[in-house]
Symmetry: D2
Subunit: 333 residues, 4 copies
C-alpha cells in the first residue's frame, strides 16, 4: 500500500496549486483534460524543470475518475476498462516499446487483507504467456506478447523487501518493461475507490504506512516502469479533515460569506488553519490515542472484486493485440 | 448489521446520563462494574420504571471492553472468551433455563461482506448437536445440550425478512431459547472492534442501515432471546464527530480552559453545539454528497477471524457442560 | 449432496434399460433427444404406470450434457446457460405457473466444502426481488417476478434437517413454487462435472451419503418443486468400476471378441459379474478399509465457479422476463 | 504439485524392494522405523553406492504416517506437529547449520486450487523475522533466527519457472538454507492425506503433471534444501489399480489361495500383470478418453486447513528456539 505525497496524491492538484501560486501557466507543466466513455481522464506532464515547484518527479501522470467504479454496474466497468486499456497502450508507446516487448506485471499487496488485495487479484486474472514463448513458441498465436506475472507479497509476511524480490526477478528474467499494480492510501474521501492513477515515474511500496521502502522505478529497475494504483483506504484524520472542510463550505454557502472573520466566528481559531494544518492537528490528536485508524468502506469486498476485473481486463486488452473477446475477463454481476 | 439507539449504543451511557441529569442515583437503574481476566465488564440493569428516562427497554445489558480484541494475541483472546462464556452462562441462568434446554444460535449478517460476516463465521464454528439428540440420542455424551445453528443471510440477498426466517424456524423446531449474534454499527471510534455487547432485550436486524425491521425478542419469538454483538463498522460522520471532540478536549487540556467562551473562541459557533447536534450537522452535509460512508478498519479480515473465534469458543464452552479442551475452538495465530 | 438411484443417476438410462428388457418401446415412457446450442438435451417423461418398471417417480427428467462445462470457456458457458434457462421456462410452464408466480430458490449444500458449495454459490448470484414487491412495490419494474433465495446449510452444521428449514419457510412465506439447487454424487466418471440434471419429482437432501432425509417434493411442500443438480463428486468404487469396464471394452475391441468365455479369460470370474455386482464387490472391499473415499477433480474450485455462473445466469434469465443484459451474471475468465 | 518416482513415491518402498530383490540387507541402505507420539516415523538413508539399485538420489528420506492427519482432531494434530518439528530439527542439524543460520521457506503451489494450496497456506502462517533482523535488529528477542517466506505461484499463473523465481531470490538474498513445502501426487490411496514426507535431496516442481521442471536442490541452489511434502491428490488410474489389488487380496484371503492359476481364474490374464503393468494398462485406457482425472477427497478444504496448521506450527517451533506458546499456531476446530 502506497501513499502519494503528503499534501495530495494527485499530480494534477500539485500542478494546479503551482499554477495558482505562480498566477498562471507554469513552464514545464502541461495539463490535458478529456472525457472518454463518460469518464474523466486527466493527463499531467511535468518536466524536470518543474520538479521543484510541484514536488513531483518529472514524468507522465494520468488520472481516470469515475464514481461508477464504486458501483456493481458491469457495463460501466467494461467502459472504464476500455479507457484504462487505451491509456496503458499510450504509456507503452511513450516508452517506445515494440509490440513484441516482454512485460512483467507485479501485483503488490497482501491478499489476506481485502482492501490491500487489489494487486494479487489482478495478477490472478491475467493472460500469462511468457512460459509458452519459452517452452512452446510454435503454439503461440500471433498478437500475443510474452507476459509474466508475480504477486511478491508484503514485507511483513515475507521478511523481504518487495523491491528486492522484484529487482532480483528482473535481473534474472530480463523483461523489457514492468507494470506494477497497487492499492493506495487516499488523501481525500471523494477519490476513495473512485479513481485509477497511472504514472511512469515508479512507486515506493509501503510508503503509505510510514516506512519508505526501496523505490521501484526506471532508475532502480533499469527498464520502463508503469505504475497503476487505486486508492482503497483512507485514514481517520483525512476523513475528519475532509468532513470539516465540507461542513465549512456548506455553512459558507448558507451564510453567503467566506471571509476570515466569518470563518473564525464559525470554527474559531481552527477555522483559520489551512487544510494541511488542520490535517496535522487532527493526526497529532488521534494518533497517540491509537485512533487514527486506516479504514475502508464496508463493501470493500465487492469493490475490490470489480476493480480487479476492470484493471485485469484492461491489461489483457492492452498487452495483447488480439480480439477483445479473447482477452477480456468478464465482469461478474 | 444493527445500530443501537441514536445517541449512544451503550445502555451504560444512557444510564450514566440519566443519573447525571437527575443529580444522583436513579430508581430502577443498577450499574455494576467489574474486572475479570484484565477485562472490564459492566452490567446495567434497567427496570420497567426506568425505561422512559433511559430510552432503553427494561432488561440486562452487559458490556465487555478490551482493546486486546483488536490484536492477534491468542492468549488474550482465550481469556476474553472465558469472560464471555461466564456472562452467557449468567444470562442462561437468569432466564431460568435448565442444563438440558435446547438452544438455537442465529448468526446474522452477510458472509460475503467481511465486517458483516461475524454472525455466519461464529455459527460455522459451533458444536452442533441437535440432530444427534433427534437421530442418535444413544450416542450423545452427557454434558451436551441440543444446539442448532442457522445463518439466515440478509434481506438484500434472500428477499425475506431475517425475522421471518427465524420466527418460522422457531415455530417449527421449538428451541427453548435463542442466541443471536450480529455485527453492529459503532457510535464511537473507541468502541469499534473493542467491545462485546450482550443483552436479553432482543435485536432489530438491519436497524443500523435505517430500515427498522422486525424485532427479534422474547415478545415476538415467545422464548428467551440473548443478543451478542460486536461493533465492526462506523460511519464517516461519527468518525468526524469523535475526532472533533478529541481535538477540542486536547485543546482544552493545553489551554486549561473549557468554558463556553473558550469553546467559541476555538471552534466558533460549532463549538457550542452538543455532541448530537454536531453529529447531525456533519451527517446532513456528508450524506447528500454520498460521502457518509460506512467504514471498517483496513484489517477487518484479521479482526473478524479473531472475534469469531472468541465468541464461538465462548458459546461452545457456555452451552455444553463439558471439559474445555473438548468445546474450545482454538485461536489461530 | 444427493445421490440418485443406486444403479444409475439418470432417468434416461433407467428408461433405456426398461426398453431393452421389454424388447422395445414401453408404455408410459417417452424419450426425446435434441441438440440445442451444440449441447445434448434429453427429456424423459415417465407416467405413473411406468414407475415400477423404471424404479423412477413419475414426472419429467431433463439431462443437459456438455463436456464444455468442465472448461473455462465463457462463451460456451453462456450458450449452455441459455439452454438451461429455456428448460427452466418449460418446467415453469409445465407446472402452469403464471408470469407473476413467486419463486423461492433453495441452494442446498455446505459452502465450506468446495464440491458441495454449488447451491450456496448459485443463490449468492441471484437477482432477488421478493422484498421489493413487499416493501416498495412501486419501484419494481415490469417483467420481474417475486424471487427469494435461501441457503439453508447442511444438517451437520445446523443440527436441523434441511427439509424442515425449507418446509417451515414455505409454510410462512407461501411462495408459489420452489427451485432447489444441489451438487450430486455421480454414478459415472463420464458424467462428473459434465451434466446438468433437472426434474419436477423433487429431491432428498443428504441421500448421497447414506442417510435418507426428508424428501422435498410437491407432495411434502404442497407447491411445484423443480430440482436442478450437477454431479460434482464420485466415490472411489465407482471410479474403479468404470475404469475396469473401460479396460474390458478396450480389450474387447482389440481382440474383436466379447463373449462370456473371452470375458472369463481376461478378467476371470470377475469378468462375469455385471456392472452392479462389480460395483458392490469393490465397495465391500474398499469401505471397511476406509478407502471408499468420495473424491472430486483437483480443479473443483474452477469448475464450481463456472457452474454456479451457468446456473445462476439461467435462473435470472428464466425467472424474470427482462432483457438478458439485465439478468445475466457474467462469466469470469 | 510434484510426483515422486513412477513406481512408488516412498524411498522406503524402493529400499524394501531392493532388499527383497537382493535377498537381504543391501550395502548403502539404512532403514529405521520408530513410533513417536503414536505416529510412525520411518527414516531411510541411501548412500551414493545404492542410488542405482534404488533409483533414488543419495540422501535422507523421512516418512511420517498417521491417518489422524485426515481427521479434525486438534490434539492429534498438535502431537503430529511436534513430531514434524523434531524431524525438521534433525535435518537442520544434519546439514550442520548453526542456530543463527537464516532460512527461506518457499510454499509452492496454486492458492486458488484447494488441494494445491498447501504451500501458500503454510507460508501464510509462518513467523517471519528476516526484515526485523535487517531493519530493527535491536528489537529481535534472542532465540529467533532470520526467517523469510515466499509463495512463488505456479508457472501456469506466473509464466516463469518456479525454480527461476527461487534461484533468483536465493542469489540476491543469500539465505543459509531453503525449506520447500509442496502438495504431492500420491501413488497410493492409503497414503493420500495421511503421510508427511521429508527429504534433503530436493524437489522438482510440476513433475507430477508430466513436465519435468528445474530441480531445486543443494546442487542447483548452492545451499542445503529440505523438502516437505504431503500427497493431496491421486489420479483415477491409481485409485483403480489400488482398488483392484485390494479386491484380489480380499478374494485371496477368502479362498485361501494366491497362486498364479488362482489369480488367472479370478482376474483372467489381467490378474497376471504386476502392479506397474496394471497401472500402465489402466492409464493407457483412461487417458485418451480424458478420464484419467486427478482427484482429491471431497473434504480437501478441511484437510488442507489442518495440514497447513500442522506443518506451519512445526516450522515455527523448529526454526525458532522459543517457548512453544509463542511459536505455535493453533489448530482451529
Amino acid at each position: 500500500m502506497r501513499k502519494w505525497s503528503p499534501r495530495t496524491d494527485l499530480a494534477l492538484e500539485s500542478a494546479l496549486i503551482a499554477e495558482q501560486e505562480q498566477g498562471g501557466k507554469v513552464e514545464g507543466i502541461n495539463i490535458k483534460e478529456e472525457e472518454k466513455e463518460q469518464t474523466k481522464v486527466t493527463t499531467v506532464q511535468i518536466s524536470e524543470g518543474a520538479e521543484r515547484i510541484t514536488g513531483r518527479k518529472a514524468g507522465h501522470y494520468v488520472t481516470i475518475e469515475s464514481a461508477d467504479l464504486r458501483q456493481s454496474d458491469s457495463s460501466r466497468h467494461a467502459a472504464i476498462s476500455r479507457v484504462v486499456a487505451e491509456e496503458i497502450r499510450l504509456f507503452i508507446k511513450g516508452a517506445e516499446l515494440p509490440q513484441t516487448a516482454s512485460c512483467l506485471v507485479a501485483g503488490l499487496g497482501n491478499d489476506l487483507i481485502t482492501p490491500d488485495s487489489l494487486g494479487p487479484r489482478v495478477t490472478d486474472r491475467l493472460i500469462v504467456t511468457n512460459h509458452l514463448f519459452k517452452l512452446h513458441p510454435e503454439h503461440v498465436q500471433t498478437g500475443y506478447r510474452p507476459v509474466s506475472a508475480i504477486s511478491p507479497g508484503v514485507m511483513g509476511m515475507t521478511g523481504i523487501e518487495t523491491g528486492d524480490i522484484l529487482l532480483g526477478l528482473i535481473e534474472r528474467e530480463k523483461p523489457d518493461f514492468l507494470i506494477v499494480i497497487d492499492a493506495l492510501a487516499s488523501r481525500s474521501i471523494e477519490r476513495l475507490n473512485a479513481t485509477i492513477q497511472m504514472t511512469d515515474t515508479g512507486i515506493q511500496p509501503g510508503a503509505g504506512i510510514g516506512n519508505r521502502r526501496k523505490e521501484i522505478s526506471r532508475q532502480t529497475a533499469g527498464i520502463p516502469v508503469i505504475a497503476i494504483g487505486i486508492p482503497t483506504v483512507i485514514d481517520a484524520a483525512t476523513v475528519t479533515r475532509d468532513a470539516v472542510e465540507m461542513v465549512m463550505k456548506h455553512l459558507e454557502e448558507k451564510s453567503g460569506r467566506a471571509d476570515q472573520e466569518w470563518k473564525k466566528s464559525f470554527l474559531g481559531n481552527i477555522g483559520l488553519l489551512n487544510e494541511e494544518e488542520k490535517h496535522q492537528l487532527i493526526t497529532d490528536v488521534l494518533t497517540p490515542a491509537g485512533l487514527n485508524m486506516i479504514v475502508t468502506p464496508k463493501e470493500a469486498d465487492l469493490f475490490i472484486h470489480g476493480a480487479a476485473a476492470v484493471v485485469s481486463s484492461a491489461l489483457n486488452e492492452a498487452l495483447h493485440d488480439r480480439p477483445p473477446e479473447e482477452t477480456r475477463s468478464f465482469f461478474a454481476g
